[in-house]
Amino acid sequence: MSEMKSFWIKRKSGDRLFYALNYIFLLFLAVVILYPLYFIVIAAISDPDAVLAGEVVLYPVGVTLSGFQKILERTDVWQGYWNTIVYTVLTVILSLVVTIPAGWALSRKTLVGRKALMIYFIIPMFFGGGLIPFYNVVSSLHLVNTMWAVILPSILSVWNLFMTRTFFESSISENLVEAARIDGAGEFRIFFSLILPLSKAILAVMALYYAVGQWNSYFNAMIFLQDESLYPLQLVLKEILIASESTMGGSGETILEQYRLANQIKYVSVIVSSAPVILLYPFVQKYFAQGVMIGSLKG
């Protein structure tokens, strides 16, 4: 009996150690994630000289909002901001129009050619023409240097389409659809008045996925847009943030001076550009997680 007891005690203390180590591990990760974000914030509101001198580590030094003042004067940033908002809104609207009905159609078991359509959509997930043919297609559609070059190629992600299909397959009852059909509703009527109101979750998830994707993308804008007034925020940021060290001329004092002026703007622009997404994120987190889980049903 006492042997048994000591066994349980040993197990309990072993468990306690495990829980403690586990907790420390996760807290460590949380600090690793949070500190850089925290540092950006305190560096943005600190005196740039103090930041450059390495005095700002744990708390802001010589609090100033001059960085924010400077960024308010940058018309290119606000032009980019506006462009990004326009591109994101249009992308979301069009992507929902393209993705949701197609997802519904693919979830219908009696759809003629369902299998062939699935294969049609699966192939691009694993094989593509690559960058240059893609560029040439967009170019031959006369989209280069228009906002549509940034919007149209992003309005359908096959991955999202399949996620939508899985959602419909797993969460819409066939009996409901059949009942509507017996009542004489046509397929379009069924989709618009019955299915869409039941699909708020997937609409939210898809809107968020496409919105974040467009908000954060720079590459298509970089290769397709020449006109600076069309630049989205990320492309403007690229020029502000990633002026590489090799392109910074001079040495010693001049480099240091350039750093002083540039870095404050950099810290501030990181905040200004990421704030909408990061602030929105905790509220919509459950939708994002839901999306991943809908996707995992398939896997």
Partner: protein
Amino acid sequence: MSKACKMSSSDSVVLPSVRLDHQRKRNNLRKSLPWLIMAFPAILVVFLFNYLPIYGVLIAFQDFMPGDPVISPLTRWVGFDHFIRFFNDPQFWPLMKNTFLLCIIGFVIGFPLPIIVALSLNALKGKKTAKYLQTIFTAPHFISLVVLVGMLTLFFGRYGLVNNIVASLGGERFSYFLENSAFRPLYILSSNWQDFGWSAIIYIAALSNVDPGLHEAAILDGATRFQRVIHVDLPAIMPMISVMLIMSIGGLMGVGYEKALLMQTDGNLGVSELIATYVYKQGLTGIPNQGYATAIGLFNSVINVVLLIIANTTSKKFSETSLF
């Protein structure tokens, strides 16, 4: 759906089977027409931006000038010349090596980390704490690549936080962005920083479906919490791990060149030039060399497909899980 099936089968009693077949097909088509209309925009978008470029891959076998149609009577076919030229390009081996190493090292670190984090979060006693931590871990996923690389330059630049701390401790400043040796660590660590929490979600979801009875049985058998992680939780998410493994092997050679492009400087080009960034430079910058660039891109895609098929068949053989 079941109703529709019943109706057509009751018809079959009356009608001769051949005519029925014909009629049913027509019937099905008529019934499917609204759905096909709903799917049409998606079909069109995929055709334009995925299938037309696949057709455009033909220029990899041509002497192509920008603006030429893909096939015309004037097309000059050059067979595999571009491929042979790439294999003899002095850049060929460095590009292969850079792409491969970045992917392999990234994979070795980046693949297990989300699994460990998911298991760890799942073993946490306070469910509320786990939720908060998960929110924190997922947040960096929403930072854009431009901002992420911008943050890297701010932290690791010559006068960034890291160098400031090193200098204040009496060390030498180090230009992380101008050195070959720093590129891969910076790239891989920042990728992990950004995405481990996001990638963990799928495993966390799988773990929430583990039968609690298994845990209770294990506790009665005297298993510690750690033993339960290894012998209950881990096997439960094994199928998910295999699927993710196959997918990441398929994408192994297709790493985020958008990020590599942002991180490139003259100083680290020796390791940061990847196949995909080379394609971009050859095809879209300077004097474009599109046929050549497309051939290199095609070579890369073919490697990816082959890797995917190998991973899939191997997994099918050993674990009964596969994508297709």
